[in-house]
Symmetry: none
Subunit: 187 residues, 2 copies
DNA sequence: CATCCCTGTGGCTATCTGCCGCAGGTGATT
DNA sequence: AATCACCTGCGGCAGATAGCCACAGGGATG
């Protein structure tokens, strides 16, 4: 099934690149866009069957893009991804036609699972053959901490504040965790 | 609109009664059911246009009821209510045809608003802006747990296994109330 | 009936968390 | 220089939480 085109739309170049590589190695033919216009153009040209959309596209709102993409490619499957998840936006996303909605951090397997979920046309079960752990809680926590930490330029106090936890607790978590560089798959 | 029939399905009798009274005074003709069978029967008989459904119906899962109700009354509008709100279940609910999804506690006006909210979703884009703050750690954890739990069809042991945590710990977390520290835009 | 897997529960200890406080560092403002 | 207003690291302590063990009951299944 390497002929499955997948469009990643995310203004976070790093995240998009990592995800693109991970999904590429899972059999998708990945193209990426960093803004709405680019996304529209690429969708028109490549008619991708799958799409991973970031909710927060810089100034624009990813939600508005969903109907547009579907107008261009009726059978497209849009998976919404966001680090700023909320129930309200999730509901809106699905109502607007998104296939699923996940909050970052996610691992590539979860993305694949969500994309192919319920897809009767996805005859290639090999693709989904990675039912491995849905991220242990520890790992999820760590990933998220790192995300926010980076977002805060390494400012521990600020990170703790945003994470709603005590600074001391964050410090201890950080000092305890042996900063592993390349864990395993994907991320 | 005082002739609008509304079916409340909730196994929490107290909550159902209070909500029924509140909605009754707002012009709905309210009937209540405390379980799935009763709900099916009442729906068949009264053909309600609106429905407030509890996600946790004792043993049963409210989600499964949505398609059934819609089969009985095509134009029915189902509003899902739950004290254990999570993005995963919200997504599932909408995908299964729910009109909206709110988390308890909620005031009657919000319920009415959600129920009557026209199909003019495309109109108010202001409401769908993404939250500013990243998910607090506890919230993130809760969302992820709910996601996997749903994926495991509510099987706690299996979920704990996949999450790499002790079953007892998961149980304790679940028995505790959902972490609602900063109910930003939802609820 | 035996077996397997699920669930709920209680108790124990080890660990973690939140919340103090303190000392030192940096950079801007007075 | 003194004074803020931040930040960081660290220690201690009481209370919350996690992991682990055990047991009882339910519900399938052979």
């Amino acid at each position: 099934m390497s002929d499955q085109q997948l469009l990643i739309i995310d203004d976070d170049a790093t995240f998009a690149r990592v995800l693109a590589r991970a999904l590429g190695s899972r059999g998708f033919e990945v193209i990426t866009a960093s803004n709405a216009d680019e996304a529209r153009a690429l969708t028109r040209r490549h008619q991708p069957r799958y799409c991973v959309l970031d909710l927060k596209l810089g100034e624009e709102n990813g939600l508005r893009l969903i109907p547009e993409l579907q107008a261009l490619v009726p059978e497209i499957r849009v998976l919404l991804l966001t680090g700023y998840a909320s129930i309200a936006t999730a509901v809106e996303a699905i109502k607007r036609g998104a296939h699923d909605y996940l909050s970052k951090p996610v691992d590539a397997d979860a993305v694949v699972r969500a994309l192919l979920d319920g897809d009767t046309n996805a005859g290639d079960d090999e693709l989904i053959d990675a039912p491995e752990a849905p991220l242990a809680l520890r790992r999820l926590e760590w990933e998220h901490i790192q995300r926010v930490l980076t977002e805060c330029d390494g400012n521990i106090s600020e990170t703790a504040r945003r994470l709603g936890m005590h600074r001391r607790t964050l410090q201890r978590k950080l000092s305890k965790h042996p900063v592993r560089e390349r864990p395993d798959s994907e991320d």
